[in-house]
Subunit: 427 residues, 2 copies
């Protein structure tokens, strides 16, 4: 008997899922013995359902799916943490298995929904919540579990990676890169979630939770975006042998979890350095496996739908074989989150300063007062007649000292003229 | 009750497995509820077992493992297709689950052993047979199954990738690169399996079988190695915007499977082009997921042991939960293997020819007679006083025509002085 799927959300990813089912349903049965049937489709738009040829399965009320005794798997693709949360917890409570692509829900209410799944004895799968079509959650929950994972670092936001690539390869300004990304449909009209790093923060919270067997939520992630990055920074990075990427970073340290999202300089020969355009990649280091990386399309209908349907087929396999959930929540430890202020690393800072004698000395004094050992201060690319870019590269120093030095510098009278660019360095 | 493991083979990988169990046994129980115990260790060398602190588990007779009623999972790490085959089929027949890293066995007798597993109702897992620690078989059998996979291309031999990287980055000759690889322990005293492409051929047979749901064996794979690659080729590739990699390639074509291993030119901006040194990577294209790539350490004790133990833990999970094998053989189709002679692509050919008037015309004539449309013939780097390298780049043409042209050219009197270098181009 076919495993029956109820789809909630018929946007880009939902449409992709319908396409996959229509194209490959027979293949799934022949290759894997998995018989799935799209039974019901919920959306606000009957037209979207019609457009995919499933108008006859349409409902505008998700309760018609989560309360349908015939449906085995509910696929939640509406996103957000309000209605989606009701759909997911409601479906689990009603005894359905759930597949979701919802990063915000998993990064914010992951504990609640994983526990709801466990209480219901059902599966909750969410491969598509991170990295689009890239298999990453499944490898972390299966193939790589013989390791203690020490680091996860990802380019997990295609919009910002596209922008940074265009700025690096074609010299576009931040504004032009954003405008182009919007025109191509890679960025929203309000790009805050992408350029502010919040989308990436949700994803690294999910990855860190799985990799370190310890719950990390969105609120735990220090987040800084790319809005202050300019072509001057990219050029300076290149001169130093680095590229700038918006990295989502999680390291297991001796005393806890170091987790953050910010523009980052990585050496040009690092495997993540050549991940360009809208592509995503997640770099994972384990104590036995060493370095690994998972690369692919981080967004788009087909890629995300591939991940969603991979989960659906796996759950369907289990249902057909009468198998209870094999892997549930694996957050068995309770590691502390390290305060950002205590982290120690190297910094690249760029200040737009007044172009007059004494400014260099003033700025050097600020760093000295905060015990920041400066490797170099270089003036670069005059951005106007009366201002100049001052690029400061530090030796390893404490985040708190940097923060306090920045505060002091910004409070100086007529010295720093604009929001500084702060780029942390990963070796 | 603990799931009991019998390990056959205590070499590099087997030693790594023992290390993992000793280091992480408690973590596996705490994080995943998986309780494993190393129960018996078989090897020809009691000293190897002693060195890992498991001398008390030692036996030199594998029958003591496959016939031990207490043992749940037999891990075969001796390699080859003789004793290993007996161990694997014997263990399955005795009702054991099997985990193996044996590429030769899977590429040659895959059908037999998968059927033996199915007949026994037991699991046969072999993630470590391809790509060392890189999760690739598991993603192909789970996360990516919503796709029709159209291509799998891999750098799956670390030895040759190390050599080609040293030749490209540091100008080493083939001989010096091989010598260095041998000194560093990356290449065997007899390097034929690596430099001849046979190791890679076994791996692509396994990957193609899974990706295309159709059995491909080692004998199906056209195989050419890197023994004729010289620094001249690498330099010429660079000038054309390419790098040379030993690629294991499998494409699903309309009329069957195109599967082969040979030195290949790929564009420098291809994601595989920056995979250097002993690292491996497998690039997979699916109809919905688009491009993906899986990167990591292709060899070494830790990496391979990570893959083996990932399989062991997964099988142990299933045993503890009373779950029968969830995924067995997925080769449900029977796609024809396309004859190499019929394939059409672009070629780079380098001939060491006599440096005298008329040779260029003679060679041009050979190509013309075989309907090979030549894009360019360039003379490069004189390799001696009376010989010169003639580099020929063709438009798309048929493999058979190239083969016949090469035969004719080699038969010419005093024209071609050495084995030509033949490099196929992937766009």
């Amino acid at each position: 008997m076919a495993v029956k799927i109820g789809l909630v959300g018929t946007g880009t990813v939902g449409g992709g899922c319908i396409d996959i089912i229509q194209k490959h349903k027979d293949d799934f049965l022949r290759h894997f013995g998995v018989d799935i049937e799209l039974a019901r489709v919920c959306s606000l738009s009957p037209a979207e359902a019609e457009a995919h040829g499933v108008g006859h399965l349409f409902t505008d009320n998700f309760n018609n799916i989560i309360n349908d005794p015939e449906i085995d798997i509910v696929v939640e693709l509406i996103g957000g943490t309000t209605i989606a949360r009701t759909v997911v917890t409601g479906a689990l409570a009603a005894g359905k298995n759930v597949v979701t692509a919802n990063k915000a829900l998993m990064a914010t209410h992951g504990k609640e929904v994983m526990e709801a799944a466990e209480a219901a004895g059902k599966e909750l799968a969410f491969e598509a919540s991170v990295g689009g079509g890239i298999p990453i959650i499944d490898p972390l929950k299966h193939s790589l579990i013989a390791n203690e994972i020490t680091s996860v670092m990802g380019i997990v936001n295609g919009t910002t990676n596209y922008m940074l690539t265009r700025m690096a390869d074609n010299g576009l300004s931040y504004e032009d890169a954003l405008h182009e990304a919007q025109q191509k449909g890679f960025a929203e009209a309000d790009p805050t979630a992408d350029v502010g790093g919040f989308d990436a923060a949700a994803k690294i919270a999910i990855l860190a939770s799985i990799a370190f067997n310890s719950r990390v939520t969105l609120d735990d992630v220090f987040t800084d975006g790319i809005t202050n990055i300019s072509p001057v920074d990219i050029e300076a990075a290149r001169d130093m042998g680095y590229v700038i990427k918006l990295l989502a970073i999680a390291h297991r340290r001796e005393d806890g979890v170091d987790v953050r999202v910010h523009p980052t300089m990585i050496p040009t020969n690092h495997q993540l350095a050549t991940v360009n355009g809208v592509f995503n990649a997640i770099y994972v280091v384990g104590d036995f496996v060493g370095e690994t990386m998972f690369f692919g399309e981080g967004a788009g209908a087909g890629a995300a739908a591939s991940a969603v349907m991979g989960d659906v087929l796996e759950v369907a396999r289990h249902i057909q074989q009468g198998v209870a959930p094999i892997v549930g929540c694996t957050c068995t430890d309770d590691l502390p989150i390290l305060p950002m202020d205590e982290l120690v690393m190297r910094y690249y800072l760029r200040f737009s300063v007044t172009d007059r004698p004494g400014v260099l000395e003033t700025m050097a004094g600020v760093f000295a007062r905060h015990n920041i050992s400066v490797k170099s201060i270089v003036q670069r690319g005059r951005s106007g007649a009366e201002r100049v870019d001052q690029v400061v590269v530090t030796h390893r120093c404490r985040e708190r000292d940097i923060r306090e030095a920045l505060e002091e510098a910004l409070a100086l009278d007529n010295v720093v003229l604009d929001t500084p660019s702060v780029i942390r360095v990963e070796e």
